[in-house]
Symmetry: D2
Subunit: 346 residues, 4 copies
């Protein structure tokens, strides 16, 4: 039984990791850390856990928690992780981090898009981008996993086979995506209040969202050349779920079925990547609560353009589910262990 | 590994049973039966199951499916079960049925409230009311389990300790309850269309809902005398969840904390019954996706009246979860086996 | 053209009054006052008003705003009104206030249920309870209107004919009610965050909600004797709308149709009170966005109990719509002026 | 007072026209026609209209209704209009039609995208595309108005100034749009049931939606050359509202503020077109219930690409509101008459 501590356990990502690991046959949650709720039972903060997982929250005191686990998952507000992660590394712990800090190869790109100084750049060489479908081998032994952003996970996996095979024009990639509101975290800001966001749909951070740079980094690696993308996030009045609708101009004439064959081959060993048959389209309710990504392809012959649609649970494959997938890899467990429940659909 | 067949697997109750059993360590789904989707993969009907549970739906042909399982769960439209259940009984199969047919001791009461003839009254002696907290012993060996209605489950468990201990006036019990829309099943009627029921709240079947009689039957047994209740169901614009707010006049002066002590004692061995501490109130999101019932008590000293609040997932403890709990009992398994996942909260 | 100033115009009640008066043929909004947004256009705070109503928000400076209007509507956080209203009264202005301060005849009852000192009790004699169906004559010339709470409006009008005619037992009145989330105002508290309250249903303030005392005051006046009620509010995941389900034991045998006749007669001159025909039940979507109250009656012959159902828009007849109705009376205008638009239904 | 008849009054578009005209100072609804509800009061079908608009529905009998109005609005299921419109034209009536039949100049394009024969092509010369901002003069005296589709309205107005001024590459226009569920009409199909579409987001009709051809027709006229677009519609779990996020590559370097100036100039006389200031983005809640279109522009300097965002109410400017705007023009009334109410925001 591997021991894992969750730092920032009472945020939406943290509590989803609790939900997944609480039922995991080979991983044990040995500490849940919460600054706001230290000393309280986590099931008093999230009453759905009562009788199932009633562990008391630890204070964020590295000396006290470090010996409780081999691996720590950090899901912390920006800035706080700078004080926590270096200390854990010093003590030989492994980390799965949910901030943007360990997702970048280039400190410059990070600092430009995040408009801040990095502060832990000396640890970058210990880190790997935690997208198992691309970096499985590196994840096995990495000391720090930079768990990918939700939009990048949804976008990169949707585009990888096309980019890798140089099938599309890399100058006109458009990623139009939409997320459920849990993506904003457990915040009390006015725009996330029920009456402000139910019955409403809007875009935000148009052309400036940080995830743009994360998507561009990974797609550029796949392309073997620098590329850029347009990325526009939207907010959907629902709790969970993310859909990306992606447009790319084909370099060659390809049919929908040819591309589906290519994708099925590319992902044939990937349990969590479901390539849908021709004519079927992803819906967020089919992935909500799970670690799956559903991908469809539609070629618009008229325009020689491909539209790729991909759906994930922003808290699942886009955050907590992927963290568990990474933990499974780090511990040498089967990758889908603890992740074979379907979502709820309804 | 026990084998269970699900007849009516593609309705909302059926598919929730699939979800729960698909992850059950000791029960195997050996057949999913669907008249509408026979020959199709169930994961084509419910794409969230793709890669997890892709079984093909069987036609409803008793001769072909009977030997596939020891126990059959039936979640069928009214009327159809009359043709199915007697044949399964003849073949020695055990049944967990979701209609109202096997919930009543009195054929007369059933026929009056359901405004129909029973048609299987000769099988009533083989049946037991499938509420484990009240009929655990009888369920173990019963051939037919009449799985309780969602409102009755939510109401009876909330009132049982008070009624059993004769603490309340049985002439003035008011049960005001509300359900998510999945309670109506996978119907295409206009009132359940998104635009018709989102941003809307209403009562329905005021003073005439069939579940009234089911509640009265069980509470009368507990009281040792005939009693009546007012029961009003409402429809909440959400998928899952049910809350009952129940009013009863106390026969004696009791404080909130005294009643909470009484309830905790009464249900001390019941894993799925969570009596909340004083000052905490149930919310449907805390039980959605799980088999728990959360119960709070508030005594209004001013009026010497107790208000009991209870929350379940109408598809969980109110239907599919309870069916799995019954199956566990029938198979001699620990009652919470396969039911220890929390819901999603969000 | 009568001039009205709205103090606290950027809260949910305030902005609904803006919406209604902006289209009113005989009332002019001459000032919108907002502490938080002083100096900003109200259409920058609420962009749906752009091109329709772009007035700049005034600071809450009584000397500067007093001469702008004859009547001021106050929709202020608790406590602030104590500093505002006496000054406006001194300057001879008339007030329609949305706090609880001017809804009570008894300072003691107010102070007990609000757990505070009143602070403006010397002004109570100038005030009237602003429910036009009960106090139309007094409203005409009152200097201060205490606009009723939403739950009291919904409950009192539903019960008035029964109480007035002494048809029900006054010791067992149960009011079970539910409101959309806008009832909490434009707050940023966690429980009103989208992810916390969508797909959720819960009760709150069980047996302690302040509106209980307001309901009891008015029903006691109607009954000619002190009476008490049980009142339980719930929160529905929708923006607007309120439904009360009310239980009362009949003193005499009455049929549903007899009571409907009685109600239609009682309210025959009330444009905003719609008594539904037998068999029809109110739904919040039918009143949302309007100033109507829909009322149904169902007698449960079995129990000799009547269930009254009433629906309003908590922001309409429960707040802003009623304020406009009061303003119409105060200005000698037809009561429905500016209030004849239906809601949206969808 | 001009008389208008509404044929198909009980669908979602029809009832929104009723809502708008019922409060219109210069237009009178002289007949509401409904095949399904003939002989019933429309306020029994839509109870929010009770006491406000209780007209009885007429049967669809042209001879009986023709003399009731000068103009008829038709909002009929596909196919039915073929039998109705020619007869009304014969009787000299003017029509505002909501089908696709009178939106096209080319019968071939219509028949290809609608996969049917037109059947009324002889009437095309009497018709004009009912987008007032483009065809105001023609609408004044046209006998048939083909009221534009919702997606085309939202897309064409968002792109017109750029296309007209030849500022963007016409080979790479991407229109990614999303609609509330009322866009599907008052249907009882399974995908529009509450439990199937709440908490869900999906695309549909990818690369094949009929509105693509309507958008291309109008943009091609504006461009003075044939152009094509990618158009992908999505379904948002909300009742009303539509947002288009549009991508186009700039032919010249332009800043966001330069383009905003251009748009404000282009639409300076258009009451219903609101060009938002730099940094502000449209949200559907700001237009829901109104006839406005909100448009924002963001230039991504890095990519020399402009993102245009536009929001309408699919039932407002996308259907019923635009029909009323057209009626105002046809009757020589001020264009905003009866359309100056804001939406509800919440």
């Amino acid at each position: 039984m591997a021991n894992v501590g969750i730092i920032g356990a009472t945020g939406y990502v943290g509590i989803e990791i609790v939900r997944l690991l609480q039922n995991h046959p080979d991983i044990n949650i040995s500490s849940v850390v919460s600054h706001n709720f230290a000393g309280e039972k986590i099931s008093d903060v999230y009453p759905h856990l009562k009788n199932i997982f009633d562990m008391e929250c630890d204070e964020l005191d590295i000396d006290k928690i470090a010996n409780k686990a081999e691996v720590f998952v950090t899901a912390l507000p920006h800035g706080v992780s700078k004080e926590v992660i270096p200390k854990l590394i010093e003590k030989g712990k492994r980390i799965v981090d949910h901030s943007g800090d360990f997702r970048y190869k280039s400190v410059e790109v990070y600092e430009k898009w995040y408009n801040t100084t990095h502060g832990m750049s000396h640890l970058l060489e210990l880190s790997v981008y935690g997208l198992p479908e691309l970096y499985r081998e590196e994840i096995k032994n990495a000391q720090i996993i930079g768990n990918p952003g939700c939009y990048p996970t949804c976008s990169i996996l949707a585009l990888a086979p096309l980019i890798k095979n140089k099938l599309v024009d890399t100058k006109n990639i458009i990623i139009d995506a939409a997320s459920g509101i849990s993506g904003a975290g457990r915040k009390t800001d006015l725009p996330y209040q029920f009456c402000e966001c139910t019955e409403n749909f809007k875009a935000y951070n148009v052309s400036t969202h940080r995830h743009t740079s994360e998507i561009e980094q990974e797609l550029s690696f796949l392309a073997g050349q620098e590329l850029t993308v347009s990325f526009t996030p939207h907010l959907v009045p629902m709790k969970r779920g993310m859909l990306a609708t992606i447009y790319a101009n084909l370099n060659y004439e390809k049919s929908t079925s040819e591309l589906i064959v290519l994708y099925k081959e590319y992902y044939k060993n990937e349990y969590f990547v479901r390539i849908l048959d021709e004519g079927k389209l992803p819906e967020t309710k089919n992935v909500a609560g799970s670690n799956f990504i559903d991908i469809s392809l539609v070629v618009d012959k008229r325009l020689n353009r491909v539209i790729i649609l991909s759906a994930i649970d922003n808290l699942g494959k886009g955050a907590a589910g992927q963290a568990v997938q990474d933990l499974n890899i780090m511990f040498g467990l089967p990758e889908h262990r603890g992740l074979t429940s379907s979502g709820l659909y309804l």
